[in-house]
C-alpha cells in the first residue's frame, strides 16, 4: 500500500500526537481530547481520525497497546494507542516549527505576546 504523507505533518495527525502525550487513549477519547485541546474547534470525524491513526501507525509514530481493559463478552473491544519515542520526537519538532513561526509572527507584530 502506498504510504500516506506525513510531511508536512497534517494538523489532525499533530493533534492526535498531542492528545497521546500524557496517556494512552482509544479512538473516541482521542477525538474528545483533540476537541478539548482545540477548544472545540476541531472535532475529528471517524474517517479523518482513523485515517490519521493508520498513517501514524504505519510510520510507527504511535502503536496499538493492550491496556488489559476488562471486556465483557458481547461488549465492543476498544483499541488503545500510545505515543512512541519517535512520535514524541515528531510532535516536539512540529511544535518547535510552529513556535518558530510564532516567533516570526510576533517579530512582524502580527501577533502580540499574549499568545506564547
Amino acid at each position: 500500500m502506498p504510504k500516506r504523507k506525513l510531511d508536512p505533518l497534517p494538523s489532525a495527525a499533530f493533534h492526535i500526537l498531542l492528545s497521546l502525550a500524557e496517556e494512552d487513549l482509544h479512538g473516541y477519547a482521542i477525538m474528545r481530547q483533540v476537541e478539548e485541546q482545540t477548544a472545540g474547534r476541531m472535532r475529528l470525524g471517524p474517517g479523518t481520525l482513523y485515517g490519521s491513526i493508520q498513517s501514524l501507525l504505519e510510520e510507527k509514530f504511535i502503536e496499538e497497546v493492550d491496556l488489559g481493559e476488562d471486556t465483557k463478552p458481547g461488549q465492543e473491544r476498544r483499541r488503545y494507542y500510545r505515543l512512541t519515542a519517535s512520535g514524541r520526537k515528531l510532535a516536539r519538532s512540529e511544535a518547535e516549527r510552529l513556535a518558530d513561526l510564532l516567533r516570526v509572527a510576533r517579530a512582524k507584530k502580527i501577533l502580540r505576546g499574549d499568545y506564547v
Binding site: 500500500m1 502506498p2 500516506r4 479512538g27 473516541y28 477525538m31 472535532r43 475529528l44 470525524g45 471517524p46 474517517g47 479523518t48 481520525l49 482513523y50 485515517g51 491513526i53 493508520q54 493492550d66 488489559g68 481493559e69 476488562d70 471486556t71 465483557k72 463478552p73 458481547g74 465492543e76 473491544r77 476498544r78 483499541r79
Partner: protein, 542 residues
Amino acid sequence: MSEKIYAFLIRLFPAEFRNTYGEESLQLFRDRSRDERGLWPGLRLWIDLLTDLAVSVPTEHRHGRPALAGASARQQLDGVPGFELLEATPPRPGTFFSAAFLSFATFAAISVLIVHGGSYPALWLRGSQDQHPNATQASNSGRSTQPSTGGGHRKLVSTGDRKIDAAAPGSGNLMLVSLTPARRLLPGNLALAQSNPAQSGQPTPQDATTAIIRAFDSHNIVMFGENHGVKQEYEWLDKLVSTPQFSDRVDDIVVEFGNSLYQKSVDLYVAGDNVPIEQVQKAWRNMIGAVGPPSPVYASFYKAVRDENLKRRGKHQMRLVLGDPYGDWDKIKDAEDLGPYVANRDQWYAQVVKDEVLSKNHRALLIMGAGHFLRRNGPGYVEREIRAAGANPYLVVFGTNSVGGYDDLDSRFDSWSRPAIVSVAGNWVGELPASSVTTGGSVPATQLKLADAADALLYIAPRDAVTQLNMTQSELEGTVYEKELNRRMMIMTGRTMGPLPGEAESPMFHYPQPQMSSSGPPALPAPPRSIRDPLPPRPPSQ
C-alpha cells in the same frame, strides 16, 4: 436507525479501511450519539460526519490501495498478462449492481454522443444483419466452450441426498433433521465441470489448530460442521479455544448446542461470573434441536471457553453465542407448541450470526451439525444468509477415513498427523464422497463430492478410533431430568427414550444394522400444523 445509516455510509470507504476501522468508526459514532443528544447536538454530529466523509472517503481511496490478498498466478509467459488478488472478500451484490448501472450509463452516453455527433450509429441501433464482428466471434466461442451434453453425464445425476445429522447409532440422542424434502445433487455436467480441474494435486494436511487460526487471516467466519458428541473432536475444540492465537482474534463462537433463551446466563458464565451451574446447563440440556441427554462434551466446551476467559482476564474475551431457537420447554406442552421452533432452526441460527457477529464486524467460529452446513447444490441456508449479509466464510467439516460403504477405509489417511485440516480443492480428498467421509460410512456414498460440499476437511482420527461421550443410564435413571426428557421425546416422537449406553465412552460409528423387520421402524407422528408458523416473539433472555 441513524446507526444503520452510518453503517451503510461506512461502506463508501475502501474495503481495507472498513475491515480495519469500520467497527471502530461505528463505535465512535455510537459514543458520540450517546453523548450528544438533542436536536442541535444531533444535527452537529451529522454535519461533522458528512463533512468527514466528504473529505476522508476520497483520501482513503487515493491512499488505500488494498494489500494483495493472494499471490498472483505465475505469469510472464511472453507478454501474457497476469492478475493479482487485491480484495480478500468477494464484492457485495450491490457492487455488481452499481458496476452494471455505471457501465450501462457510460455505454449509453457514448452511444448517444456517437449518434448525435458523428456518422457512426450506436451499436445497438445497427440492423441485425450488420453484426459486429466481435459478436460473431463471441458467439462461436460460446458454442465451442459449451459443455458436452452427451449421454455420459447422466451417470452423475443423482436422485437426491439426505441430511446426515440424524441420530448417531447408539447415542440415545435424537438430533432433529430437516423436514424439508431431500435435495437433488448438481446436474451431471455441472458436477463434471466443477470437479474435473486439478484433481491430481496432493493434499497438504496442516495441524488443525494452526489451519483454523490461519483461516481467520482471510475469512471473518469459519464454519465448522461437527459430528455431535465426538470425544476427539471436542478435545481438539477445547484445545483450540485455549490457544492464545485463537482467543486473541476470535470474538464469538456460535454454537448449535445452546438454547438462546439462556444467553444471559451463559454470557455471565463464560465471563467468569459465579452463576449456578444448574442455570447455565439449561442452555445445552434444554435444546430444541436435540431431544435426549446431551453428550458431556458440550458442558466441557462451555467450561473450556470460560476457563480461557478467566485465564485472560483483562484481555480480549470470547463470547459463546447460542444459536438454538429460544423455545422454553417449561411452556412447550405439545407438538403444536414445538413446531415453529423446530421449523426455524437454521433460520434462527443465521439470524443470530447476523445480529451478534456480522453487525458488530466480529470474527466468529460457527459450530453446527455438518448436515446443516454441507453444500448440496450450492451453499446451505446458513451460509447463503450470512454471505448475503457480507460474511466471507470458510467451511470445514468433520470426517474420517471412511470413503464408501462401512468397510471401505482409505489407507492414504494413515500417514497424516492428527488432528489435521486439509483443503479439499484440487486433490483426491475432494473427490471422496462427502456422505461417507462425514458419517464414518454409516450413510452410503452419494455423488456429492467433498470438494463440492466444503472448503476443507477435519480429519480427527481413523473411523474406528473415533468415540463418543455419553450420559449413561446410571447417571440419568430416576432423575427428574429423565422424566422431563421422556416427556419431550413423547412430544417429538410419540414414544419414550430407549435405554442409554451403559458406558460413558463408546464407538461413534457402528456397523449399519440390517433391517430385521419388513415393516421398518415405527413411523414418526405427523408434523404439527404449526410447523409452518414463524418463530414467536423472543422472550427476555434468562
